[in-house]
């Protein structure tokens, strides 16, 4: 365990909350800029996400009639807290100091909370658009969660451990899981896009169909909190996939001295998450939204099927390695 002073610096400053907020806003800027350039537009300047956040915080909070105000205030904050906590367990500069066996399960659990929050918001706003959006959010959750969890389970199976940091460290001695388990990598990326509710899976928030789905009645600071929560969600999700499939902040050789390893790991972490962001942004720009029943078909037929195939392959590979 690390000393309390270091723990406070880790949690609050770097690579904790301060870095997390800055990086989340930076990734939102980069996402919008890359997509804009792909569409031959200019895109927003670097300061835009900060400006958006400040503007949203300053807007009036409108409570629809008959809605539970305390819950409406609390739910975006709960979502924000969940993703911020999830980020603490992902390796950023080497092992996460809070790692323990089973933290993969904890991170996955925490990362489902924003979707549940959207569903609750949709249900609580007494608004037909939000209700339909909330129901779509939960339906989408049921469809992609099974393949996504299976895809993240297979690296754990091969590494033989339930801790994200140790899975990243296992890849230091062997190949990256993106190479060893390409099917799981693809499913993890698709599942991440569905988790983050980005096109082609932005069904709960479909602007042209149901106004803004569960986000319709969010205004002012609640919208700011939820928006920031989803930005951090992008960082946490990319960091998780980078740790599990691209080796996290570690290189195939060990760097001495330790502090140099931390700095190098930090920049390697940023590089790998940027690569994942590039893939996700291209995916978002190149597709249109699909319908929820079509997602149902694709999810259960192809995604779930492929993840089970990948699981079978990993089990076979494991037994072959043990015997050899």
């Amino acid at each position: 365990m690390i000393s309390p002073v270091l723990a406070i610096i880790y949690i609050f400053i770097i690579p904790g909350f301060f870095f997390l907020f800055a990086y989340a806003l930076f990734l939102e800027y980069l996402d919008r800029r890359i997509i804009a350039r792909m569409q031959t537009r200019v895109g927003p300047p670097l300061i835009q996400p900060v400006a958006d956040l400040i503007k949203m915080l300053g807007k009036e909070v409108i409570d629809p009639a008959g809605v539970d105000r305390a819950l409406f205030d609390a739910i975006p904050l709960v979502a924000l807290a969940a993703v911020m906590t999830a980020f603490l367990y992902v390796p950023v500069v080497g092992n996460s100091p809070f790692a323990f066996q089973g933290d993969l399960v904890l991170v996955l659990y925490l990362l489902t909370i924003p979707t549940i929050a959207l569903f609750l918001l949709g249900w609580l706003s007494r608004n037909i658009f939000s209700a339909v959006g909330g129901i779509r959010a939960v339906t989408q959750l049921f469809i992609y969660e099974v393949p996504f969890f299976l895809a993240l389970l297979t690296p754990a199976l091969m590494a033989g451990t339930w801790s994200v940091s140790e899975i990243a460290r296992w890849q230091q001695d062997n190949l990256w899981f993106a190479v060893l388990q390409p099917i799981a990598f693809v499913i993890a990326l698709v599942g991440l896009q569905a988790k983050l509710e980005r096109t082609p899976f932005d069904i709960p928030e479909a602007e042209t169909e149901i106004v803004a789905g569960p986000w319709t009645e969010l205004t002012g600071r609640r919208l700011a909190a939820m928006h920031l929560a989803f930005d951090i969600y992008l960082v946490a999700g990319s960091a998780l996939v980078a740790a599990l499939f691209l080796g996290g902040p570690l290189t195939p050789w060990t760097i001495t001295p330790v502090w140099l390893g931390w700095i190098a790991g930090f920049f390697i972490f940023i590089g790998k998450t940027l690569v994942i962001l590039l893939i996700l942004s291209a995916f978002k720009a190149a597709t249109g939204r699909i319908r929820i029943d079509q997602l149902n078909r694709i999810g259960w037929k192809y995604l779930a099927g492929a993840s089970i195939v990948q699981l079978a392959i990993v089990l076979v590979m494991n037994s072959v390695r043990v015997n050899v």
Binding site: I35, M38, Q39, T40, R41, I128, F129, V132, I135, T199, P200, D202, I203, A206, E207, T208, E209, I210, V211, A285, A286, T287, G288, R289, I290, R291, I292, D293, Q294
Partner: protein, 393 residues
């Protein structure tokens, strides 16, 4: 989920103009819908009765921004027929060029909007950038990007100089290449195929029964195009083909519209290269003789009909505009029943609705099938409602 009423409109991100669908949905499937069209009524037909033939054309142009030249040309053509005028060939060619450029920009706009409705914003941005080429051409020729003001009774107002013709011809090859790319994209892009195929299918019999016009009908295999079957301007001298499809779904309509852009490029190129010399207008008399004329025109959205009655003065006595969108709404009301909630914007966008053209204020009692004159007091209380699944509209 039990049956719920989902209000689509009058203000909704899916709609570009106000129309009210009250959709009654069971879960994600639509059971019934009510349609209310009167939000954009501006009384243009009445205002047109008080302006003489010079001043009425800018008014009629402004019925719709996207098909403004269609309205102006249809009216001018009708009045010229009543007066017995033959306008010079150069004027006919210039009117055709502007008409086809307008069709191109309207269909490119539609392609972008259809992509936007399914969340495919990339195609939206690309098509609208290509549309800028057409808009630049129109601005060079007529002075404005919409409401071109090229028409007057007796011919056109502005001539095309040689440099304008050259610049326009120079833009056509790149547009043609982009259209080829869009055909490719639409046929291969998985999400577009999945969202457009099989949605909003209208068979040929249904298309004829509901009176659909334009690309909506041609996509169902109805081989009718006013430019070929009731020719006006120079469409009988220029080589071009009518584009039809057989699917009758939204994908078919996409194919028809992209095909029409390619045909328009062909027509514009032919007209620009073969522009005859001569005057661009004749002197029109101030008054029109007594008479009635039905002027038909193929607007980008379908067949546009202007019924004009004159009584020997310098104004019209009555102009009645039947726009193509009005004819297509019944098919939307019919197609939406049984589809998913997520398909509403796609099906509505597929007829290329232009609510500015459409709004009507007649009261039709569909049970007795009688039309009646209503006083202003009654008008304030009633509104036009069309029921789908009840009786024919």
């Amino acid at each position: 989920m039990p049956e719920v009423v989902i209000p689509i409109g009058p203000q909704h991100p899916a709609l570009k103009e106000p129309v009210n669908f009250r959709v009654i949905a069971d879960g994600e499937k639509i059971v019934r819908l009510d349609l209310d069209l009167s939000y954009n009524h501006r009384g243009i037909e009445k205002a047109a009765e008080q302006r003489n033939f010079i001043r009425v054309l800018p008014l009629l142009e402004r019925v719709c921004g996207i098909c403004s030249h269609s309205h102006a040309t249809a009216f001018a053509k009708g009045i010229e027929e009543l007066m017995g005028l033959r306008i010079p060939p150069r004027a006919q060619y210039i009117r055709t060029i502007i008409a086809e450029l307008e069709r191109m920009h309207s269909h490119l706009l539609w392609l972008g909007v259809a992509a936007h409705e399914i969340g495919f914003n990339t195609l939206f941005m690309w098509t609208w950038r290509d549309r800028e080429e057409v808009q630049d051409t129109l601005e060079e020729m007529s002075g404005n990007r919409v409401h071109y003001g090229m028409n007057e009774v007796g011919g056109v107002r502005r001539d095309l100089s040689a440099s304008q013709v050259k610049a326009a011809l120079g833009r056509l090859p790149s547009l043609q290449e982009r259209i080829g790319k869009y055909v490719d994209m639409v046929n291969n892009q998985r999400t577009m195929l999945v969202r457009f195929r099989g949605i909003g299918t209208l068979s040929k019999e249904e298309a004829l029964e509901f009176g659909t016009v334009g690309p909506t009908a041609r996509a169902s295999g109805v081989d009718y195009d006013t430019r070929r079957d009731d020719p006006y301007l120079v469409y009988d001298e220029v080589p071009w083909d009518v584009v039809t499809a057989s699917d009758g779904d939204v994908f078919g309509r996409t194919e028809v519209r992209i095909g029409e852009i390619a045909e328009s490029i062909r027509i514009v190129r032919h007209c620009l290269e073969n522009l005859p010399e001569g005057p661009i207008r004749v002197n029109a008399p101030k008054t029109a003789p007594k008479g009635e004329v039905l002027s038909r025109y193929e607007a980008p959205r379908g067949e546009l009909v202007h019924f004009i009655r004159t009584n020997g003065t310098d104004r019209v006595e009555r102009v009645d505009i039947r726009t193509p969108t009005l004819a297509n709404w019944t098919s939307v009301a019919h197609e939406l029943v049984g589809q998913n909630l997520a398909d509403i914007p796609v099906i509505v966008a597929a007829i290329d609705p232009c609510l500015s053209c459409t709004s009507r204020l007649t009261v039709i009692n569909s049970r007795d099938k009688k039309e009646c004159q209503v006083s202003f007091e009654e008008l304030r209380r009633k509104k036009k409602t069309t029921w789908a699944g009840g009786g024919p509209a």
